[in-house]
Amino acid sequence: MRRIDQIKDVLRLYGRYMSLNIRSAMQHKASFFLQIAGQLMTSITTFLGLFFMFQRFHRVKGYTYSDVLLCFSIVLMQFSLAEMFARGFDAFSGMVRRGEFDRVLVRPRSDVLQVLGSRFELTRIGRLIQAAIIFIYGMTATAVEWTAGRVLTVLAMLLGGTALFSGLFLVYAALCFFTIDGLEFMNVFTDGGREYGKYPVDVYGRRMQQFATFVIPYALVQYYPLQYLLGRSGCWLYGLYPLGALLFLTACYGLWRVGVAHYTSTGS
């Protein structure tokens, strides 16, 4: 019983943070909508890039245009969801540099919750809706038969992918404890994961596939479940692979804990 109350309490607090963030964003409405438009533009150009490439090539590594659209839209949804909720970690270097993390530590609430609450990017909703539209388009264009197992696989992919990208943001934040400043090369794994995740990882060759399976498990949230989703493999177990990303998130959280234990204030 106490456990449930605690969870309720955390959710209520997070809801407060969310409404605070939304209300403050709504103070600058023009900027808010321009930002949504800007985000839309970024993914529209990526989409157009895919469209033009497939006008010319039709297939890559056996994947058709609609196969790649499904992969692209699902990864885009995963990334947008992670960015919407876990953006606080992405902006965390500023918090460390300004010494604001001290304040977080003295409050009797979980540090992760407070950092999560520091940012809630509703502007990402534009990209999310757009990804959903591309997904629906890909869904109707593809020959895949939508069974319950496949629908569940998509849900698992969304859950796992959001966990994966959130984990990467968490690592990015955790590294700030050691370096004070944000590390630019982490963009390769976050933005790069979104940008290059539009193709299933086996397009990049065997080595990359191994990297994306054992080092940073992108393959768990797109390549393997896609094999089942697109009917390239009958093994439904592949549909459960995305849940492995939750383990990755746990490992990232471990790194975060080490970072917090290491934290020394910048003193400003």
Binding site: H28, A30, S31, F33, L34, Q35, I36, A37, G38, Q39, M41, T42, I44, T45, T46, L48, G49, F52, M53, Q55, R56, F57, H58, R59, V60, K61, L183, E184, F185, N187, V188, G192, Y196, Y199, V203, Y204, G205, M208
Partner: protein, 267 residues
């Protein structure tokens, strides 16, 4: 002229101080270039017959793009300029006996050049060492190399002139974020930053080659590998000069107008 030159020198040597940032940037750009090449390798394997340039030329295109990224990258705008417009500090700039447009032009040039100076040589050196189809190939002749340098310089000026428009427009919109993001993605895509222009369908490509975006990035990268004819090259250079003149003359006039009617924000 002299004061702009010394302003340029100041910003340039300031930019050279950020060496750790340059190393981080290079690592990122290597990863980016590497992934790009893997994508094109997969498409090449899928159907080499419809591949519009040779694979070597594509690889050279990608590495040069990474090496000179700071010349045309749309996201490398000067945050200080935006800050000073938004905060109203631009009032101090207006008091100085310099043309604001020219000063910001010199400043953008300096910070972009300093970034390129730190990054281009290591990237090119490593790309030269990569095995045959994946690395950078040498230009077919010295003449091509000279033309590459000329078009590169022109595309640098066209890019800076284009991005000056964003600063000037900020006088009117105040909140630059959305505008910046939109411009950045459009410019990047249409200038051949996402996929090289030859990969676009022909009718689209023909239109895009006339727009200023192609003059900002596509031209030098293609001239290098010798995949364009002399006539194409001549018209491309003429277009670059044309866009440079248009962007600078109109941009300067527009900036003048904005300066006159600027409302200062805050105290």
């Amino acid at each position: 002229m002299k004061r702009y030159l010394s302003f340029f020198r100041l910003r340039f040597s300031m930019g050279l101080q950020y060496r750790t940032a340059a190393i981080a940037g290079m690592t990122t750009q290597f990863a980016w270039g590497f992934m790009e090449i893997l994508v094109f390798r997969a498409f090449y394997a899928a159907d080499p017959a419809v591949f519009p340039m040779s694979f070597e030329a594509t690889a050279s295109y990608i590495w040069l793009q990474q090496a000179f990224l700071a010349i045309f990258a749309a996201w490398l705008l000067e945050p200080e300029i935006f800050d000073c417009i938004v905060s109203g500090n631009v009032a101090y700039e207006l008091c100085r006996p310099v043309r604001i447009y020219d000063m910001w032009f010199a400043r953008s040039m300096a910070s972009r050049l300093s970034k390129v100076a730190l990054r281009c040589f290591p990237i090119i050196a490593v790309a030269l060492l990569l095995p045959r189809p994946y690395g950078i190939c040498l230009p077919p002749s010295l003449r091509h190399f000279a033309l590459f340098l000329i078009t590169l310089a022109l595309s640098f000026l066209v890019s800076v002139a284009f991005y000056m428009w964003i600063y000037v427009l900020t006088f009117y919109t105040i909140s630059p974020m959305g505008l910046r993001m939109m411009v950045a993605s459009v410019v990047e895509f249409f200038s051949g930053g996402g996929i090289p222009l030859p990969f676009f369908p022909d009718p689209v490509r023909r239109v895009l080659e006339l727009l200023p975006f192609a003059s900002m990035q596509n031209v030098p990268l293609r001239v290098y590998s010798g995949s364009v004819t002399d006539a194409q090259m001549r018209s491309a250079i003429a277009l670059q000069v044309f866009w440079l003149a248009v962007l600078v003359i109109l941009g300067r006039a527009m900036c003048r107008k904005a300066e006159r009617r600027v409302t200062l924000q805050g105290g």
